[in-house]
Structures are given as C-alpha cells and as structure tokens.
C-alpha cells in the first residue's frame, strides 16, 4: 500500500567554503608531486637535455603556477566539488533538454578500466579488438533504434554532431555541383541553436521557422521557405517545449521534394525510444547525445559523444575511419569514397561509448521502451502538478494534450502579478538544492522554465521538486523581495555581473583580474 506522503521541503544549505582562488593558497617551494629523474646513466650520457634547445627558445621565467602540497590540492578541489551539484546528488529534473538521468556507477568501472584508459589510438587493430567490438556493436544498436544505416562516434557532443551533418549536407550538394545554388538550411526556433550555428559555419544561410498558434512548427511557413536554394532541414522532434510535431513526415517530404536533405537532432530522444524512429520520420541523418539519452555522465560539460547516423546512400560522406567487421576481426576502415575527412582527432571518446554500450546491454529492447514510457509518464505527471501552481502556465496547452520528454512552462502570470521573474525563481530554487533551466535564446515563451524528469527519479522526488516550486510561488505572492534577493542558502549570494561584459573590467583569468583590479574584489 502506498503511503500518502506529503512532500516535505528540506532545510537545505549547500556547502559554503568561501574557498580562495587556488593561487592564493600558494606557498613558494611547495610541491604537490615529484617527477622521476632520468636515470643517472642517461644523465651522464646526454647531459641536462635543456642545453640542446637553442637559448632563445628556453623558458627563462618559470610559469607562475600556484605551488601547493598534495593534500592541499586535494582539499581545495574537494571543496569545489562540494560547491557543485550534479545528477548523482540532486533531483536534477530542472535541466530540461539535458536529460540528467542516472549514470550507473557500474559503468564507471568499465569506462575507467585500464583496458579502456591505457589504449593508444594508433595501436594495431589486433591489440584493440575489445574497443573496436564495442564501437561496432554500439553502431549496430543505434541502427536498430533509429532505423538508419551506419553510425560514427567521432563528434564530441550534440552540437558537433549537428556540425558534422551540416558538413555532409554541404559535401552532398558540392558533389552534385549545386553548392553555389543550395545555400539555405531551414531550422526552427525551438530546435537547439547549434543546428542553426553549425549550419552557418558550413557556409549556409539559416532560415528559422516560428511556431504556429498551437506551438508546432508551421507547415505553411515551411512551404514558403523551401525553394531550389534549400540544402536541407535541421530539426528537433519533439521540440524543446515537449510537443511532438505529428506532421514531421510531411516536413521531410516537402524538403526532399525541394531537393534538400533532412537532419534529425535527437537530443530529445529519451521519450521516444522504440516508439518512433528517424527512418520513418523521413530523415537522412540523425544524431544522438550519448551523454544524454544513453546515460554517460555530463562531466560539467563533456567529454561527450554526438553519435551521428546516416541512411545508406550518405555513408560515403562520413568522417573517417569507420569501424567494420570482416567476419573474424574488427578493423578501421578509411575507405570512404567522398568522406568529409575528419571532425575530430582519432575515433571518439571511447569511455563514453563504453558506458552507452553497457547501459543498452543492461536494458535491452523492453528496457529501452520502459525508459521512454516512464520518462514520458513522469513528464506528464510533473506537468499535471506544476499546472496547479499559482502563477505557472503551460503555453500551447489544450485539454487532453500531452507532452513527451520535457515541458517548457511559463511564469508569465507570476511575473505580471508579483514582479518576480523566472530568473528570480531560479535563484530561490537554489535555496532548496534545486536547479532549473529557463530556455534557449530568444525566449519565445515569456518567463520560461523547462523541466525534464527523465525516467530516473522517483515519484517522491518529483513531488519534492514540485513542493519547492510551489513554495517559491507562494513566496512570490506574499513576500516577493524574499525571492528577488535569493539565493541565501547556496554557495554564494546574488551575482553582480559588473565584471562580465565590460572589456575594461572583465577578467577571464586570475592574472588578468590582478592586473585590472588588484587584490581587492571591491576596489
């Protein structure tokens, strides 16, 4: 029998160490680690080694790095880690579109095994059959999940995946002699900005579609946007607000008819695993974020993998090498007819692929479907509860309308009623150990916040998060200044962005700070 627990808010306070900048902990002559000397016979034979470098190229002044003893380095960084939250510690459902799911610890043991970490990318293939097997088989898994033909793991993140695809689209049109003519890529405002930005780096003009009144990308706008200048479409589905564009096959058909190619940003794949695929959606390319859907931890922002998949006819453009199997052995295949070359050194971040492989192996087909279904159940359950919070609204909502992996909400009413903004609420949520993210820019939805519970958090945890939001909403209506001056229980108080945008004042490094401001932060 389920207890009818009322979610209790924590009396939370984050660790606050008032930790100095590491340079301030420096003591002249301190050593954190000692380096082995070359053996005496070597020193005798070759001398000091340094005199072989021309004088003008020898380092005269040693780099002004801080000098600390080993335990002091450890203590400093542990203080900093305590002043950081993460999906392991926290109900991290506030980072919508980031898919902050549980990264199973057992997979860390594989990712950090010496059988992964101590491999050199140029070892002969015979010596790395385990690594190549994992790369090859994870490719096969993603083919099953997407319906596409071949995957590579070279791109170092989702944005990099979008970039790689845009390069392949460019190569395709170049080969047909149409690169001068086909210089437009179409995207939507609710797709990740990197789709637009990566297209631009590849030399494309970007056409951005805005949503219709129901929040879906506007088909009529698409029809007007396509022409014989269309190189392709780069789109997310469901989009960042959580709505699945049911007309997606029509979108891709329209672009194909105009002679363009279609790329699927699958950052939001978590809610649709096994339910709908890139192939049937009409996509020629897609990418998955292995550090989102496939459980590799986010690492403060990488290392990561944007796994890029293509339909068969586009395999010829993939960056090299591919990983192939000849029936007996796995090998690296550089024979890719019209390859774009490379987007990254070597083959990709193996530990990230290892974790994704292990995660998929632990769940299987039924498990992946359950991941998606529970993630979507959680998202709609959360939506139901957030909709009851005073001042919160769900743009584009309609009775019986459901969302998928995440939902973008609005505090527009709250802001109108109380003057408290989404960024104020964001700060006050820190006082409960919670975080949320607003939205990409520009904000189409006013005062936005985007929540993505994934499948990893329990009902109780979702309830706790909602209770915190509810609390902040109540405070906004009764004591708005309290919210506006938050946070109080976090690592630091409200930031004054004074030193962030003025070239005379900004300080991206400690030495730059000392040059411009001296030691006193308030000077």
């Amino acid at each position: 029998m389920l207890e009818n627990k009322k979610a209790k808010l924590r009396n939370f306070h984050q660790a606050k160490w008032d930790e100095p900048i590491i340079f301030e902990l420096s003591t002249r002559g301190a050593r954190g680690i000692l380096v082995p000397e070359a053996e005496e016979e070597i020193r005798t034979e070759v001398g000091d080694g340094i005199s072989r470098i021309p004088e003008h190229l020898r380092r005269k002044e040693p780099p002004a790095l801080p000098e600390l003893f080993q335990a002091q380095v450890l203590r400093h960084y542990l203080h900093l880690s305590q002043a950081t939250l993460g999906a392991d510690l926290n109900i991290e459902i506030g980072q919508g579109t980031c898919t902050m799911k549980y990264s199973p610890k057992i997979n860390e043991s594989f990712a950090t095994s010496t059988k992964v970490t101590e491999l050199h990318p140029f070892q002969t293939e015979d010596t790395v059959q385990g690594a190549l097997e994992i790369l090859y088989k994870t490719d096969l898994f993603l083919r099953e999940i997407s319906g596409l033909s071949r995957f590579v793991f070279q791109p170092g993140g989702g944005s990099h995946g979008a970039f790689t695809i845009a390069s392949m689209i460019r190569a395709y049109h170049e080969l047909r002699g149409e690169s001068g003519k086909r210089d437009e890529i179409i995207t939507t405002i609710f797709s990740h900005p990197s789709n637009a930005a990566a297209a631009a780096v590849n030399g494309f003009k970007v056409i951005t579609l805005y949503p219709d009144k129901d929040g879906y990308p506007d088909v009529d706008a698409l029809k007007k946007a396509v022409s014989d200048r269309t190189a392709g479409l780069m789109i997310t589905n469901p989009e960042d607000h959580g709505l699945f564009n049911s007309k997606i096959a029509e979108f891709t058909r329209i672009v194909h008819e105009a002679g363009g190619l279609c790329s699927y940003d699958q950052a939001n794949a978590n809610g649709i695993l096994g339910m709908t695929r890139a192939l049937e959606g009409g996509f020629d390319f897609c990418f998955f974020n292995l550090h989102k859907t496939f459980s590799s931890p986010h690492g403060c922002g990488g290392p990561a993998v944007g796994a890029v998949g293509v339909r068969k006819e586009f395999e010829q453009y993939l960056p090299v090498p591919l990983v192939d199997f000849d029936g007996e052995k796995y090998f690296l295949n550089y024979d890719v007819k019209n390859t774009i070359g490379k987007v990254r050194m070597f083959y990709g971040v193996l530990p990230v692929v290892v974790r994704a492989y292990a995660w998929i192996m632990s769940l299987g087909e039924e498990g992946l479907k359950e991941v998606a279904r529970i993630a979507v159940l959680n998202s709609n359950y959360l939506m139901r509860n957030v909709s009851k919070i005073r001042g919160a609204s769900i743009p584009y909502d309609a009775p019986g309308k459901h969302r998928l992996e995440q939902v973008r909400y609005s505090w527009e009413k709250l802001a109108e009623d109380t003057g408290v903004t989404t960024e104020d609420v964001q700060c006050r949520m820190c006082d409960f150990g919670m975080h949320y993210w607003t939205s990409h820019h520009p904000w189409i939805i006013p005062e936005p916040f985007t929540l993505e519970p994934t499948e990893s958090y329990s009902k109780d945890e979702l309830d706790e998060y909602v209770a915190a939001l509810k609390q902040v909403s109540e405070e906004a209506y009764t004591d708005p200044d309290k919210v506006k001056n938050a946070p109080y229980n976090s690592c630091i108080h409200k930031i004054d962005p004074l030193l962030l945008d003025d070239p005379e004042k900004w300080a991206i490094t400690w030495r730059s700070y000392l040059k411009k401001h001296g030691k006193d932060i308030d000077a």
Partner: protein, 467 residues
C-alpha cells in the same frame, strides 16, 4: 490493466514499480501510457522489433560480459608503447583521477553560478593556470580537442583580420589538417607551406613565396608533428605581422616548463591539446582543446567558447563567476553568434587544472627536462643500431623524433609486428602519410619510459634487424 511485462522492475527506473505507475496514471487521468503518445500518428509508430541483444539485468552478468570484451584489449601498461603522434602516455597523478571521478564534477552539467559555483571556479582556475603556462591573459573553457582549437583559432584569425586565406606551415599532424580543412570549408582557403627536409623546420623560402595580403594567419606547430622544436618563430611572426596576418601556434602544453611559450616569439593566438596534462589516453578520447590570446576586445569577442570570468556578488568581499561576453556565443545569438558552442571537454579541463596545481612551476620544469633527456638518450641508442637513422638527431626535439629504417631493408610494418611479439608497440608508421620519408616511424619517449624500457627497445630492434 497492466500487462505482465509491465511488472518488471528496473533498478534504474523507479516509477516502473506498478503501484507508482498506476497512481501517476490515475492522477493524469489515463489508463495506458500509450495515450501519452497520441501525437505520434499511426504511420510513424514503430511497430517492428529492435534487434538488440537479450538484456543483462543483473549487474554481475553485465560486469562479466564487459570484462570479457575488454579483456581482448592489450594496453600500453601491459606492454611498452612508443606511440605518440597526438596522443601521449604520460603519468597520471592519483589526485587527477580522484577529482575527475568525484560524483559532483562527473555528473554536473549546465547549472548556474550558484549551485555550481565549484564547477565555475574549477574551470576559471584551469583557464588561469593555463594562462600562466602559455603566458597570455585569456584562455577558454575547453573545446573538443586540439584540432578543433586549431581550426577555431584559424577562423578567429580570419574574422579578426577580415581575410580569407590561412597558411599552414611545416609538418602538421595529418588528422589535424583534415579537421582544419573541413572546418574552414567553404569560405577560407588553406595553403600548405613545406617543411625543410634537412632541418625539419618551416621552409621560410616557401613561406615567403606563399604569404600575401590575403593571408589571415600563419599557423605552425611547435613541436612539429615530427617532434622538431621550431626555432624560427620570431622570423615567422615578423613575416606575418608585416602582411597584416596573425601568427597562430599550436603547442604541447607539457613542453612549456622548458620551452618558451609562443607569446614570447610573437604568437597572437596559441592553441593546443591538454591531453598531456593529467588525462589518460582513452584510445584517443582524452583530448581537450585550448585557445589562448591577449586580453584585447577584438580577440575576446571572437571566441565561440564559454569564457568564465570572476565577478562580485551583492555581499562585500564575496566573489562569484559567470560568462564573459555571453552575447557573442551561439547560445545567445544562434547563427549570428561566433561559430557554435556546446558540450565539449570540461571535465578534462578541470583535470588539467588539478595536474598543473600538483606540478607547479618546478614540476613542469622537471618533467620537461626528464622527457628531453630520455628522448635524447633513446634517439642516440636507436641511431647506433646498424641501418637505423635518426635524421634530426642533432636538431632540437621534444618527446618525439623520426626513425628512418630505409637502410634496413625491412618495412616498418614488419618491424612493428616483430616488436609486438616482444610486448613492444613500435612508433607510428609514417610510410603512408609521408611517402617521401619511406619506411620511417615516429617514436615517442616520455617520463614513463625507463632506461630499461629504452634499452629493451634498442636491443630488440637490433635483434630483429640482424635476423
């Protein structure tokens, strides 16, 4: 009504517990989770089977499975490896792995400067320590790898100078060149400048011929792909600046304790890969790219990456961190931002910071010295073997050098196969990438190679070549 398979309980999926599922469905007002997928039309519903292996539900089974696959790998710890060429085997201090496996750093992402204050500070300190290493005032949050850093540095130079040609001078890593070429497509022209076959340095005559008023940047690597320390940096920077171009230099940061940083010989943008600073090789997955410049608005505003800066809070004496000039990024401006930015290699940046803090100035000098001495010893020993030449034995080099086997009558492939039988990974085969060098390899010696390892290599080579 829940079907049988709906009753399976997954440790990673809390609400897979049937009572919880039912309670939540009831609250939403649905009878089946399928109803939530109503927006996906029938024709787009995947009704087939995903041909995935049977799941390994128990953690023990998963562990056994993974260990079996991974056991097929032979590592550089179990063998002695002399491979380099852009990915290096250096000693990883225990504290580096301790910190980058901390749950908080491992699983944080894009939080605010409040609850993620530690992450911001750790990356600001990484930027700051790298700044001291390269002796420049601005360093970015890491990008994917050194190749990306090089490619972005060149695009930055093109935007700053408003010119559309870059000169890539000397011996550059072939993979880096491929990345740069694709990244600079379609609007920036890449022109290659030769390296001098005798000295290994940039061919200044060829450079003079190719530089023009359209040149945005002259790029070279120091050490070069062949391990040569480039000694003409001052000349090259003069040539660049006379034509209104920038000098972009790619370095190996672990060399900068003993070798002068490029800002000392006129470099405007310095870039490189941080893998050598406390990060495991990870089969090539340990890379991270850095870009450094002077603190001038025209440079800072061209970075696509995040730049974490220090700032005040509302409490006197308290500081915090935030994004400097956020409006220049694609986060803020989409296609109007500089290039693009996203998840890249932050955890490796934090790790490199830990490494530099442990090593300090003296450690960086010591390791540079040890590497120089061991590499020079190795080069001498190898060049003493009959038929083996080290063409640039007397030139200055750091960590790597070319070994020429042409006079032995054996191919590098044969030699490396024979070395492998003795537990040695021989240097990278250069014969395909640089056919002008014939049967040559690139050997890499770091602080991890003992005299015994080097003597074992020399002895084994001698044995192989006299068979």
């Amino acid at each position: 009504m829940l079907k049988d398979k709906d009753n399976f309980i997954y440790p990673y999926i809390p609400n897979s517990l049937p009572e919880l599922k039912l309670a939540m469905m009831k609250e939403i007002g649905i009878n089946d989770v399928d109803e939530l997928y109503r927006d996906i039309p029938e024709e787009l519903r995947f009704k087939g089977k995903m041909n995935l292996p049977e799941p390994l539900h128990s953690e023990l089974d998963l562990k056994r499975h993974m260990e079996e696959i991974l056991s097929k790998n032979m590592t550089c710890e179990e063998n002695v490896s002399f491979l380099g060429a852009g990915c290096w085997q250096h000693y990883i201090p225990a504290i580096c792995d301790e910190i980058n496996s901390r749950a908080e750093f491992l699983t944080a992402y894009a939080g605010e400067p409040y609850e993620d204050h530690g992450r911001f500070q750790a990356l600001f300190e990484y930027e700051s320590m790298m700044a001291e290493l390269v002796d420049m005032d601005v360093v970015n949050v890491p990008t994917y790898d050194g190749a990306q850093a090089a490619a972005t540095s060149l695009r930055m130079a093109s935007r700053i100078t408003e010119k559309k040609e870059v000169l890539i001078a000397g011996a550059i890593h072939p993979e880096r060149l491929l990345v740069i070429k694709n990244y600079l497509n379609p609007d920036i022209k890449v022109i290659l400048v030769n390296y001098d076959k005798v000295s290994g340095q940039v061919d200044l005559e060829d450079l003079k011929r190719k530089i023009s008023s359209n040149t945005a940047a002259i790029y070279f690597e120091n050490p070069s792909y062949f391990g040569c320390i480039e000694c003409q940096g001052e000349n090259i920077s003069q040539m660049a600046h006379e034509k209104g171009a920038l000098m972009v230099t790619f370095v190996d940061p672990i060399s900068l304790g003993v070798i002068a940083p490029p800002s000392h010989y006129g470099a405007d943008i310095v870039c490189g890969d941080i893998q050598s600073l406390g990060i495991h090789m990870n089969y090539g997955g340990g890379c991270g790219g850095f870009i450094a410049t002077r603190d001038e608005e025209k440079f800072v505003m061209e970075y696509p990456s995040r730049l974490f800066g220090i700032t005040k809070t509302v409490v006197e004496g308290e500081w915090g961190f935030g994004d400097v000039a956020y409006e220049r990024t694609s986060f803020a401006k989409r296609e109007e931002g500089k290039e693009f930015v996203g998840t890249a290699a932050a955890l490796w940046g934090i790790t490199a910071g830990v490494y530099l803090a442990l090593m300090g100035p003296q450690g960086m000098k010591d390791i540079g010295k040890t590497i120089l001495q061991k590499a020079q010893y190795a080069a001498q020993k190898l060049s003493a073997i009959k038929g083996v030449k080290v063409p640039l034995l007397d030139a200055p080099y750091f960590k790597e050098f070319v070994v020429d086997f042409n006079a032995t009558g054996k191919s590098v492939e044969e030699i490396n196969n024979a070395l492998l039988q003795k537990g040695i990974f021989g240097g990278k085969d250069l014969s395909r990438e640089f056919p002008e060098l014939g049967q040559s390899s690139l050997y890499c010696i770091t602080e991890v190679h003992s005299k015994k390892d080097i003597d074992h290599l020399a002895g084994t080579l001698n044995e192989i070549l006299t068979r």
